[in-house]
Amino acid sequence: MSIHPEVRRALGKGRDQIWARHGKEPNFTGCGIGYRRRGGVVTDEPVVIAMVVDKLPAGALSSRRLIPSSVTVDGTSYGVDVVEAGPVYASGSATSRSPHDIAWETSITDPFRPMVPGCSIGNSDILAYGQTPGQATGPLQSPAPAGTLGCFAQGPSGQVYVVSAGHIMAGGFNNNWDTNTGNRPGSVVQPTTDLGNIVQPALADQSGTGSTYTAPVATADYVSSLDTTPGSLVNTVDCGTAVLKDASNSSTSVAQGLMQPISATHPAVGMCIASDGEGNSFLTRMDSTMQTLGMPFLGAQSDTDWVQAPVVGTNIEKVGRTSAYTSSTVDATDAIVTVNYVDNVVGAKVPVTLSGMIWSQYLSLGGDSGAVACAGGDGHTYVLPPNALCGLMTSVQSYYALPANPADNNLTNKLQSKMLTQTITGNLLIGLVYLNQQTIIDRLNTMTGPDHNQTTAQAFFQQIYDTYRPVLISMLTSPSTFTLTPQMATDGMNAWGMLSKAPADGGQGLLTAQETNAIYNSIVAWLDVIASAGWTYQQMQEWFDTPAWYDGIYQSIVLAPTIVAP
């Protein structure tokens, strides 16, 4: 399903039109080339993808800021698909491993000797530079952001280099102080030859663990320049290297064997360098990165070996410090994106424009910066952002007086990433929840109903929570042992009644009549049916991936005007 080169060239011109017109607007994140998405499903229409922080209704925008639905290039009209993404941040992680993190169970923060691609690394000297300009020494008060060791490269004299994102190697955006004058560099961050020591794992991952892996394993020696001039399109990579102190402290095997090593048959496509809080991941091209470094992968012959240009729609996989193994798809290429780097000296964000980028979704989180994505994987082993439904969860917990268990955020994320994201209908349901999240929160904040109804509903859902939380955990842990039972259906139907029935009938009346009918006809009624059939997890997933089922739900949902459909 690759885009024809001529169409891609034309779309590139269309992308440039959109960027020229909207690139400096605060709500505009970037634009690239991909396929249109409709109702959460990728179509076969090549379009310019315009990314905005918030999709606003046309009436709320001036005509100048309204992104056109199409662009004309050489007399041919091409569609523009507007998606929500951003704001985007260079995705190092300044937080240590925590049991409340989404990926705490799988994050790769252990020490590795020899070091391997996918493990945690960080600059251990950054605060010595940043805290006191002009002085290269000083106590470390907080660790530099943790990132991921992407791969190893072979230097011309036989040295072995660690390769990662530039902002991980440098310990942040702006550690390149002129140590002689104390002056900050100009608009271009100049590379230096001594950017401090690299430790593995990153100091951020050593705090509180009793680890003593503070001895440097490498010396950062190069970070690619980033031009911060507004509108500059010269930045295409964000990479850096550190020369190993001991060349034998390297293995090309990927951490925990989670992925095959980079090779001619498992070529590298991109490097994770940025993400937002909504599941959007941005990568620089790996072919550009290796050419910038001018070195081959360890074991390869030239800097053009073992790389592959990104193609929209193809699967990619990566192993990173925070989210470990994930697989997604290339959703756009040739993207021009504004990435915010955090200046760790003054704490301000520095917007930098990067071009030629790859847009993917649910591939990486903060701390995965530097991870190399290779061609392959199933395309849907996702990681979801930890706080995407935080507001909704808090409202639900408060409304039903449920325990405020931080691990429940992790659980709902797993429900999404392990189950719902695997099917087209599951993705539709996720989209429905996300798009209607604020409406749900608003109603929970204002529609408590009579006290006696509220206390009844609270007791009911507290019991449901206690009963079904372990069931949910079991289902996600051992899907093959799960079967939907009639008891679950009966509970589900009564829970539905609680939500939808009018207060006079003992319910909470949280839904309009149209919403009640739409959701009942498309989703709830089927609970009875598939429970009577005693469906297994696998059967449910197969059905959720049936286009007719997806269409049926979608057509029912759109009948309720107050529900925002994806």
Binding site: T467, A489, N494, K501, Y520, S522
Partner: protein, 207 residues
């Protein structure tokens, strides 16, 4: 309730003021239930729950059918919904949704006939406890409040509630206590602990 539907008056070991006839009858009832369980349900027309116990369980079923919601009002429309979906699926095609039933004596009798001996014994125990407090003749409000106060301590009530669930939603196995039976009694228990149950059942108009 008609005489032909009402089973013979038999009491069990959990009942106060036991009579010799009652004890024998109760034991016989449990034994009969075991036989009925071993055979296909349709092979016997015997009624597993005897006498006032049957009426007590039916009363609990009627309470469940009304509180906190009208049970039948949230079920039973799935067939209509299915008709809107033009799809075929081997595992679903031709399946009816879980039909709902009223809190009726014939429905309860059908559910009770499927009880295994151990569950039947627990139902009897639970029913006897409720009968001993005179709840057969008291308003449903009092019955629900009592269920809430006892749900944590009296595990036999779960077996009784499971028969009620299977009566109202025949798709459910009356021996299965982990579903709505647990939800319902758990909810009542929580409301009792939170001192909100009496007000809620009163406002729902249970009598």
């Amino acid at each position: 309730m008609s005489d032909e539907m009402r089973p013979p008056e038999v009491t069990g070991p959990g009942r106060r003021n036991l009579t010799r006839r009652g004890v024998i009858g109760g034991a016989a009832g449990i034994g009969l239930a075991a036989i009925v369980t071993a055979a296909p349900a349709s092979a016997s027309t015997s009624v597993a729950l005897p006498g006032q116990r049957f009426d007590m369980v039916l009363r609990v079923t009627r309470a469940m059918a009304q509180f906190p919601l009208e049970f039948s009002a949230v079920h039973g429309k799935a067939s209509a919904a299915m008709a809107k979906f033009p799809l075929e699926h081997s595992a679903v095609h031709g399946k009816a949704s879980a039909a709902m039933a009223p809190a009726s004596a014939p429905g309860l009798a059908r559910a009770a006939r499927k009880l295994k001996a151990r569950n039947l014994a627990q139902v009897n125990t639970a029913a006897d406890g409720l009968l001993a407090d005179g709840l057969l003749s008291k308003p449903l409000r009092d019955l629900v409040i009592t269920l809430g106060s006892r749900s944590a301590a009296d595990k036999s009530l779960l077996a009784l509630a499971a028969v009620s669930v299977a009566t109202l939603a025949p798709i459910n196995d009356p021996n299965e206590t982990s579903g709505f039976a647990l939800t319902w009694l758990g909810m009542l228990g929580r409301m009792h602990e939170q001192n909100t149950l009496a007000a809620a059942v009163t406002r729902r108009g249970l009598r």
